[in-house]
């Protein structure tokens, strides 16, 4: 199969879906500009123009409400936020309206399939408001689907699912994934939400991860294989619905669980995965669960603090060793996916 970058896969999904369904439009701040949202909206703008790829004023709250109104009237909005942090200004319409629309109107009057893409991920010293990932925030509310594609194929398939499904969706993309390449189907084939993927099979430890951390977990797994430790990496693909079965059957097999996430532990994705395992397969656990997440502070800017702050492949490897009762010994350090970043933004 031909290879695309993650960014190209998103662009292709957008264009193909827009060709198939003229109710789809893209809206967001700067979607038509020279950068085209890390290149993901450029081709759509070139093909469909300003009528269907709309540069919005800086008004996230109104934009989300506007999209809900358009969706109620039959359109299919794809909203894009170049930083997911700006989605906090859209929380009210997304949570209080979009998520609840179908339910509050009795379930049979239809929903509002607003799709929102939000970009997260560290660059350099982006600080407290540009280094956080709100996927768990949105996943908390029933009525929204939340997906975190980790591979180019999933970036395409999950977006296609979002744009062809009938439920409001939040897609959280990590900016450090845009340049990663992988095989991507040519056709616009949807990947259903709620079906996880074994990114790497293994026997001794399960690492459940989302988004960028799937790649860090794979790196850790590769290295631990040299030590004879076989790590199974589960990419959940979507946080809501969450594929409880793939998580539980993997842990039932390996007996050990590490959860890796780019957000905080408390009340987050890692907490949810641990709870799912504790509720369903508690007897399977041979060691306590480990969570590899952000330390309990906002993101610092200073370089050494920032390096220490973001969860790494090394931290995952350490956690896997710990649940296996092994010491790190002379295993060399690993370089994170995001390491090569050059400024300014």
């Amino acid at each position: 199969m031909r290879k695309l970058t993650y960014g190209q896969a998103i662009s292709e999904a957008t264009v193909q879906c827009m060709l198939q369904d003229d109710r789809i439009f893209v809206a967001g701040e700067g979607v038509d500009d020279v950068n085209g949202t890390f290149g993901t909206t450029k081709e759509a703008f070139a093909r469909f123009g300003a009528g269907r790829v709309i540069d919005m004023p800086n008004a996230e709250n109104a934009t989300a409400g506007f999209a809900i109104g358009a969706a109620a009237a039959g359109f299919r909005p794809l909203l894009v936020h170049i930083r997911a942090d700006f989605m906090f200004l859209a929380l009210d319409p997304l949570v209080n309206l979009a998520a609840k629309w179908r339910y509050t109107y009795g379930g049979d009057k239809g929903g509002v399939p607003v799709v929102t893409r939000g970009v997260v991920g560290r660059g350099w010293g982006q600080g407290a408001t540009h280094s956080q990932s709100p996927h768990a925030t949105f996943a908390h509310y029933p009525g929204l689907h939340v997906a975190t594609p980790a591979s180019p194929a999933d970036a395409k398939g999950l977006l296609v699912q979002a744009l062809t499904g009938d439920t409001p969706v939040v897609l959280i993309e990590n900016r450090n994934l845009y340049s990663l390449t992988g095989e991507v189907p040519t056709e616009a084939v949807p990947i259903p939400f709620g079906v996880g993927r074994i990114a790497r099979p293994g026997q001794d430890v399960t690492v459940v991860a989302a988004s960028l951390m799937v790649h860090e977990a794979e790196r850790a797994a590769e290295q631990l294989a040299l030590r004879g430790i076989s790590v199974e990496v589960v990419d959940v693909r979507s946080l809501r619905p969450l594929d409880d079965d793939i998580i539980c059957s993997s842990v039932a097999k390996t007996g050990r669980l590490v959860v890796a996430d780019t957000s905080w532990s408390r009340y987050g994705f890692a907490a949810e995965v641990a709870a799912v395992v504790a509720e369903n397969v508690p007897q399977a656990l041979l060691a306590p669960v480990r969570r590899i997440t952000l330390p309990d502070s906002p993101a610092p800017v200073s370089q050494p603090l920032e390096e220490a702050y973001h969860p790494s492949a090394d931290a995952i490897a350490d956690a896997c060793l710990a649940v296996c009762g092994e010491a790190r010994g002379d295993l060399p350090g690993l370089v994170d996916v995001a390491a090569g970043f050059q400024g300014p933004f």
Binding site: D33, N61, A62, L89, G127, T129, S297, P300, Q303, P304
Partner: protein, 308 residues
């Protein structure tokens, strides 16, 4: 100062925090802040350095922050978009558009509530006026007559989006302000004397209990939205447009305006330039010699230590 910082930023890649330079917008920083006292508080958005310095913020602490050092004004936690110098009355800056606008209103309300003749000011761009919170803040401030001065630096762009793509023709930011009951003035933002005079009127208006005031300062940023580069190659604005505005350089204009009265002004400006260049190089050298924060203190500042 910022020209030199931009050079360091580009050449060394050691300032690892996204910087939004105010080069070209000096008159709005200086003209407004000079109309305040250190007891008046200034908040800004992401384009923070120029108002910070104009307010009398500590240069070494700013530069140390840009270099991520423990002695930085935010101890290496905040970076360029979260600078603060309380002693100078620079009360903080933030990265989310519009976020500090209601904060300034709250501070102004608190000043008034305490019976103090102090004013709060907030800088933001034309792009931030599209956020709902701008309208909400104007409304509250007008109803409650809070002593706040809204300072909109209208540089015509929001990142790469021109004003014309975002706000309807025939409307204006001052018009929106007036409609909300907040008096306003549109000023040539590259004329430091005009800015200063208007700011004095606005600050006096607020200080004397007449309520909020909005200044819209027309100006232009020379460099890219973020970072040290020139961006006329990217197609969203032309070299000609940038040239037209660089010809309106606020420093050149201020110098020219003073030449008749102050025959030695050119020499004085040259001296200042030498002095400030020396100062900024010294600040950078000092910052680089300072230690980074210790990783042991990574969580410091998230909470006060819990009493147990």
């Amino acid at each position: 100062m910022e020209e030199t910082l931009a050079d360091y930023y580009r050449d060394e890649q050691e300032i690892r925090t996204p910087v939004h330079f105010s080069i070209g917008q000096e008159a709005s920083a200086v003209g407004v802040c000079a109309a305040t006292t250190p007891q008046d508080w200034v908040y800004t958005s992401h384009r923070s350095h120029a108002p910070y310095l104009a307010k009398g913020g500590d240069l070494d602490a700013l530069v140390a922050e840009l270099y991520g050092r423990q002695d930085g004004c935010a101890h290496g936690r905040g970076g360029s978009m979260h600078v603060i110098d309380q002693a100078a009355g620079f009360a903080g800056s933030a990265a989310i558009l519009g976020e500090m606008i209601p904060v300034a209103v709250g501070t102004a309300w608190a000043f008034a509530r305490n019976g103090e003749a102090r004013v709060a000011l907030t800088y933001f761009g034309d792009g931030a006026t599209e956020e709902g919170v701008f309208a909400e803040s104007l409304n509250f401030a007008a109803v409650h007559k809070t002593p706040v001065v809204f300072v909109c630096e209208n540089n015509l762009y929001s990142a790469c989006s021109p004003l014309s793509a975002r706000q309807p023709a025939g409307t204006s930011i001052t018009g929106r302000s007036e409609a909300a009951g907040v008096p306003s003035e549109l000023v040539d933002g590259n004329d430091v004397f005009a800015v200063h005079a208007a700011a004095q009127r606005a600050v006096a208006h607020a200080r004397e209990g007449h309520g909020p005031f909005l200044l819209e300062l027309s100006t232009y940023r020379w460099r890219a939205h973020v970072g040290p580069d020139w961006d006329h190659d990217y197609g969203y604005r032309s070299k000609e447009e940038i040239d037209e505005w660089t010809a309106q350089c606020p420093i050149v204009r201020a110098t020219a305006a003073l030449r008749a009265e102050e025959p030695d002004i050119d020499a004085a400006v040259a001296d200042w330039r030498t002095r400030f260049e020396r100062e900024i190089h010294q600040s950078v050298d000092r910052a680089k010699a300072l230690p980074f924060p210790s990783v042991d203190g990574l969580l410091d500042g998230a909470y006060l230590p819990l009493a147990r």
